[in-house]
Amino acid sequence: MRVAVIGAGVIGLSSALCIHEQFHGLVPSLQLEVYADHFTPHTTSDGAAGLWQPYLSDHGNLQETLWNKETFDYLLGHLHSPAAKEMGLFLISGYNLFTEPVPDPSWKNIVLGFRNLTPKELELFPGYSHGWFNTALMLEGRSYLPWLTNRLTQRGVKFFHKKVESFQELFAQGVDVVLNCSGIRAGALQPDPELQPGRGQIIKVLAPWVKHFVVTHDLKSGIYNSPYVIPGSEFTVLGGVYQHGNWSEENSAKDHKLIWDSCCRLLPALQKAKVVGEWSGLRPARPSVRLERESIRLGNLQAEVIHNYGHGGFGITIHRGCAMAAARLFGSILQERKQPGSPPGPRL
């Protein structure tokens, strides 16, 4: 049974790993292949700072909140494992700042030590009247993706540097199931008007004295259109741009100035930070994550696609929950095909 994963960002690699972990023992003929035109360090996941934090509101999408929780708990469980450093995983605390009162987020009981800011703390951030403090996790893409790749390579998963033009192309080669983890470019495989770029730009600086994340929010301009500072293990990411519908992956001087000025106003100590890089990326934004099966008729064959894309600016935050859900969908495909070793159906 050949399974092809399209996309080698955090979603593609983690979905591949979940499927292999759960089914390689049950399906001896399982052959897993990853196809992508970009691999680490050139994926969207590599550009993200890596902070585990969902958006302020889940818009009633409880399923996504559960996937976020599953991811957080999974990562927290690995915090003390010897793999943590290689995974790029560590605890981080910090501040979310607002100019008006905001309801508590869906994730307040998922993170550790969630509380409101005290008046003395708010004095550190003139212009902000409310805020939260909590302890969350960092999962740095530039470490996590290589770690996932190593785990997959050890398991015999093959990688192909190739731009897949259609699902049919893979099915014609004898692939049985396709996992579509193509992120922002999913529309090229199958039109999806709900999938739009949420363009972001970040400045990478050396500011090792910054030990907290600071994420500000401007409810009028929307998520991530307000300065944020996220310290990583090597450099600190400055950001605060979210441009819906903008496909440009070129760094904009205007955005650079906006990010630099607003972050330095937020944390004056950053004025002495040394700029070491800049990057733009396209968050694969969608009103909700597309995580579902699709059966495609190809002549007299029924081909299966599992879609897992549209994670916007919370891919790292939600990845494990989605990967497990994708694996469950794969399990249901196996059951329907009555593969030897698939989960047993009712005895007749």
């Binding site: 010897p82 943590a84 450093k85 605390s93 030590g113 550190l124 004295w209 030990k211 907290h212």
Partner: protein, 341 residues
């Protein structure tokens, strides 16, 4: 009236901050700093510089609280300014954990640090051997940067700094009008203070930039303090030991204890050992004294004996010492005007 000459002896955090405070409160004085050691070779350079106070048994608590508040407030303003990285001052959050619930659940400084609260059950899961904890945000003074920044600020006032070993305060009598003694452990020899004793502390300074929180065991012996470039792992409290040589067995023990609090430290790189002697006393000696020899007087202000808590209270005691210098000046000016009659 010629400007008075003040000599400050000692160039650790206490000497430098006291000298700076004197230039601020007594602008008509000339301040000269004398020390046999400067950063990076002072006791202060070994310390992590965390603002978590040590409780002195014989200093009134309200005074310690005031010293800490002044110091915290002073440093908080620097941490939130463009000077922060040069001065080496930054905020850091973390946890103080206890194997058994402490008698005193609210330390005197809990309302000065930021966001102080007991840890939740979920947070305590990270520390299976500990049953109680406190979470808060405080400040760290990274050395050498902080000392170098103080030296730079001092030089900018026109004050001079000389490398000189002072073996007797009297040798300064002819050149200086007032002497300020900030010699830390050196006061044991310099002024014969037998109430001053060393508490040897060995630490490791390691490269582990993914560690963003401090962790401190409430017993004060095991701690992890992330600085700008290195994390300080500690430690020991060896009362009466004068040895400045790092001990490899002790280093391994410190490393093991810290790894059991924070397992990811197993991946720490570039481990360096350091030793400092905490200049310890039952109370911090911030005090005026007039030395007298054959009818000749020498006003002295002492500011030493900060033990494990030097950074936490340095600005507060420096302010108090500078105030005492002001009193010495008034006394000298008073007696000199009487002499003119």
């Amino acid at each position: 009236m010629a400007s008075l000459k003040v000599a400050v002896v000692g160039a650790g955090v206490i000497g430098l901050s006291t000298a700076l405070c004197i230039t601020e409160t007594c602008p008509n004085c000339s301040v000269t700093l004398l020390s046999d050691q400067y950063s990076p070779n002072t006791t202060s350079d070994v310390a992590a510089g965390m603002l978590i106070p040590h409780t002195y048994p014989d200093t009134p608590i309200h005074r310690q609280k005031q010293w800490f508040k002044e110091t915290f407030s002073y440093l908080l303003a620097i941490s939130n300014s463009a000077e922060a990285s040069e001065a080496g001052i930054h905020l850091v959050s973390g946890w103080q954990v206890f194997k058994s619930t402490p008698k005193e659940e609210l330390p005197f400084w809990s309302d000065t640090v930021l966001g102080f609260r007991p840890m939740s059950e979920a947070e305590l899961q990270k520390f299976p051997q500990h049953r109680f904890g406190q979470a808060f945000t405080t400040l760290k003074c990274d050395c050498p940067p902080y000392l170098l920044w103080l030296e730079k600020r001092l030089k900018a006032t026109g004050s001079q700094m000389y490398t000189r070993k002072v073996t007797d305060l009297w040798e300064l009598r002819g050149e200086y009008d007032i002497v300020v003694n900030c010699t830390g452990m050196g006061a044991h020899q310099l002024v014969g203070d037998k109430q001053l004793f060393p508490v040897r502390g060995q630490v490791l300074k390691v490269h582990a930039p993914w560690v963003k929180h401090f962790i401190r065991d409430g017993d004060g012996l095991t701690y992890i303090y992330p600085g700008i470039h290195r994390v300080t792992l500690g430690g020991t409290r060896e009362r009466g030991s004068w040895s400045l040589s790092p001990d490899p067995g002790t280093a391994q023990d410190i490393f093991d204890r810290c790894c059991s609090l924070e397992p990811s430290l197993q991946g720490a790189q570039d481990i360096k050992m350091k030793v400092g002697l905490r200049p310890s006393r039952q109370y911090v000696r911030v005090q005026r004294e007039v030395l007298s020899q054959g009818g000749v007087k020498l006003p002295v202000v002492h500011n030493y004996g900060h033990g494990a808590g030097g950074f936490s209270v340095h600005r507060g005691t420096a302010n108090e010492a500078a105030h005492l210098v002001g009193e010495c000046i008034s006394a000298l000016q008073g007696s000199s005007s009487r002499a003119k009659l």
